[in-house]
Symmetry: C2
Subunit: 467 residues, 2 copies
């Protein structure tokens, strides 16, 4: 056989060979995903890398099915496909054991996914994706949790806030507005597909694309109005979405989420953009994208309240997102936020997030208003002198971020809530029974650590955990 290299077999197009330095860079991303997920109380799961082809054919929508790598086993009858996304697997897994699972159920996963599309910058045929999902919670507390996980990841990686923004929409609202623009009810999915690809074509092609699809041209005007409305509300970033200057397009559902985000200190990061509908067929309500530098989608997700039932489970509201490693990696490189050499090696040698919850926050009626702000602070940690625009470094924190959970139960029976905290193997309980201070209890020793003003709880817990 010749030694000239003519017998070299190339890697498949759109896949990556990761040599040691490349692999460390990818692990910098996946370790960040894992740290932030765990701190926010998500538990890791995993499914098969391939699934029965039917799992995608029935529920994901045409866009994704046309990009599947599908196959059979020699001598077998079954059709399989490499997974293009995680949500159908998650719905299948949840449906299978719905009765035994906690409510809400918070899961994360990170692994390889596959799409047989044309490879280009930011789009590969094999990539990693991070998913977080909250199942079994109708309240927009779940939507807000999902959004803030992404926000904390962005903060953890030091991405400058002014280069990124969330655009939030609600499919129910968009559907109502499309119908008002003259779209027939059963053409709504077609109109969603048009909206999803709209920004990828020049404006003058919209009208043609609309009439080709048999949609009324009036949509075109409406969409332009929505886009203008979005800009009125504040462009890629809304300074204060709780009280937008012009509010024709602030649906109640999004206003409720915005209020929750404000209570977490997160409001400045979000804007409303009713041109966002997402490409997947199964979304039912809130949908959102994290956009970098005004154009690239770094993450996307939304509500899919019917999907678990469609897979044979009980009716179960659910909301989640996916984020790929390819666009995020390019963004970190572009911003100079990917550490190199010994700094990268040191970042990957730090203690991981604690799998046991370090704090479990409960309250009676009087203290309840403090749960969300405190939870957000514990999960984020407090920075010594700003983090924005610098790669992750644990030395930057005054108080390290920690794994913090809260009760989602409506009961105010402190004894019952403490039992829940113990069942989840939490180390410390934070009990808020008034508007000024909180009691910390060590759940392993069952001893009281002390009573602290609420804004000193994070520091007191950090001292306990560090020791």
């Amino acid at each position: 056989m010749s030694k000239t290299g003519s017998n070299k077999i190339p890697p498949p197009k759109g896949t990556r060979d990761l040599y040691p330095q490349d692999l460390l860079r990818q692990r910098y991303i996946t370790e960040a995903w894992r740290r932030v997920s765990i701190r926010h109380g998500f538990e890791e799961i995993a499914g098969p890398t391939f699934e029965m082809l039917d799992l995608y054919k029935k529920k994901s929508g045409e866009g994704i099915v046309s990009e599947l790598f599908s196959f059979t086993r020699a001598g077998g009858d079954d059709d399989y496909a490499l997974r293009p996304e995680f949500t159908p697997t998650l719905a299948r897994m949840y449906a299978e054991h719905a009765k035994q699972l906690p409510s809400p159920c918070k899961w994360f996963t990170a692994g390889p996914y596959f799409r047989a599309e044309k490879p280009q910058r930011g789009r590969l045929r094999e990539f990693l994706q991070w998913n977080c999902d909250v199942m079994g919670m109708e309240s927009c507390i779940a939507d807000a949790e999902i959004l803030v996980v992404i926000e904390d990841l962005v903060g953890h990686l030091g991405l400058p806030e002014d280069s990124l923004g969330f655009r939030i929409s609600d499919r129910n609202v968009v559907e109502r507005m499309l119908i008002e623009s003259g779209v027939a009810s059963n053409d709504v999915p077609k109109a969603f597909a048009f909206l999803d690809k709209m920004w990828k074509m020049p404006e003058q092609e919209w009208a043609k694309s609309l009439s080709d699809a048999g949609l009324p041209e009036a949509i075109s005007e409406s969409v332009k109005n929505w886009a203008t409305a979005m800009i009125l509300i504040g462009g890629p970033r809304v300074k204060n979405p709780v009280e937008p200057p012009g509010q024709p397009f602030v649906p109640d559902s999004i206003q409720d989420i915005a209020n929750l985000l404000a209570s977490k200190g997160s409001a400045e990061f979000y804007s409303i953009d009713l041109t966002i509908v997402r490409g997947l067929a199964y979304y039912t309500g809130t949908v959102f994208e994290l956009i970098a530098d005004g154009e690239r989608a770094v993450a996307g997700g939304g509500r899919y309240d019917n999907l678990i039932e469609l897979f044979g489970g009980p009716p179960t509201p659910a909301v989640g997102f996916g984020m790929g490693d390819v666009v995020l990696g390019l963004l970190l490189e572009d911003k100079g936020l990917m550490p190199e050499g010994p700094e990268l090696m040191d970042a990957l040698s730090q203690k991981p997030a604690s799998i046991r919850p370090e704090a479990f926050v409960i309250a009676n009626e009087e203290g309840e208003q403090h749960i969300e702000p405190l939870l957000a602070q514990l999960r984020r940690g407090t920075e010594r002198d700003g983090f924005d625009g610098k790669p992750w470094d644990p030395a930057r924190y005054e108080t390290q971020p920690m794994h913090a959970r809260r009760t989602y139960k409506s009961t105010k029976n402190i004894g019952k809530l403490l039992a829940d905290a113990r069942k989840q193997h939490a180390k410390f309980a934070v009990i808020i029974e008034n508007t000024s201070d909180a009691k910390i209890e060590n759940l392993d020793t069952r001893e009281e650590v002390g009573v602290f003003p609420i804004d000193e709880v994070a520091g007191a817990l950090a001292t306990q955990i560090g020791g």
Copy 2:
């Protein structure tokens, strides 16, 4: 649509849905793989989950090709396959950048693999596999390194030594003996295939299987002699393979490895078994399996000195192994060595191995004999009161295991070797220039830490690193 569950789509046969507790158990295994690999100076890489079908057709042998999941892309011409093993990808990656890679080059990887075989206990269609490989080193130092990585993994997990043993063989020796038994040269691959599956069938079927394959029945007698010889040498465990009681079947190549293992304090774990040839076509010399409870193969590997050249690279000796997560997981469960609940959560919340080497051991001619024993001690750590038969717990160590490397260069120029250590971002150099003590130098500050008797080096380094 009905809610009775009739619309449930099952996961593919032979794959796993990992719920939070299952996932933690799997991570207990993958984190152990990662820790041990890094400590031994292996650098992590990753390849695509699928490859061009040709990559396996040409080199892996018929056994594996018949078990491939192969597929095409709709509208595309290329044939792909889900990877059944890592070695062809590794050979392709090494060949592509051979000139820029260090020599020796030590890589590890852990990820999903796929075989379309009938699922059964310990054998799934999708599983994780850990691979470590040393490329570019002809010396049996590489073979010994590969064996000791597996041994340290077994020790890290607390698997009792008397339930496990390595069986080592050498394909060149087996080939010579087969030819002596009357096998024609070009029937040797067929005879290897027979040997590989021999123990899976009842003894009375051997002869029939041999004549069906057109092989001389004389092999049957030879094989029985080899099996007997193996038992003479010590059964599943050899007490002292360096001086076996009966040595007709101790080839020089294996004796050299045994001597190295003895210098690392590892000899008691190994036996010689010339019935081991491994199923893959590309092995060229040493082959081995780690057998649990006298029957299950937990890991296997060997030398494949021609493979990188076959993939278009320069002639490159190489040796490596693979270990799956399924059999290992069953073994840990069977032995009660898989932690549960908060113990499992705590084990997964510990600091990982340092990606920067913590110690880099160099020596002049006088000190050279101390390199291997010291390296083995640093990588293993010293135990407080025995580890065997208990799940991993960092509190068990007197001195924590560390990431230690050595020079493989023949130069004794200490200045040049220190420059190599700095290039690899090592934190401390251990310099041995006589037979009794060693100097520790902090490579970041370029200050001498002190001179210590060789058996106190591990403790002195642990103090430096801990501080």
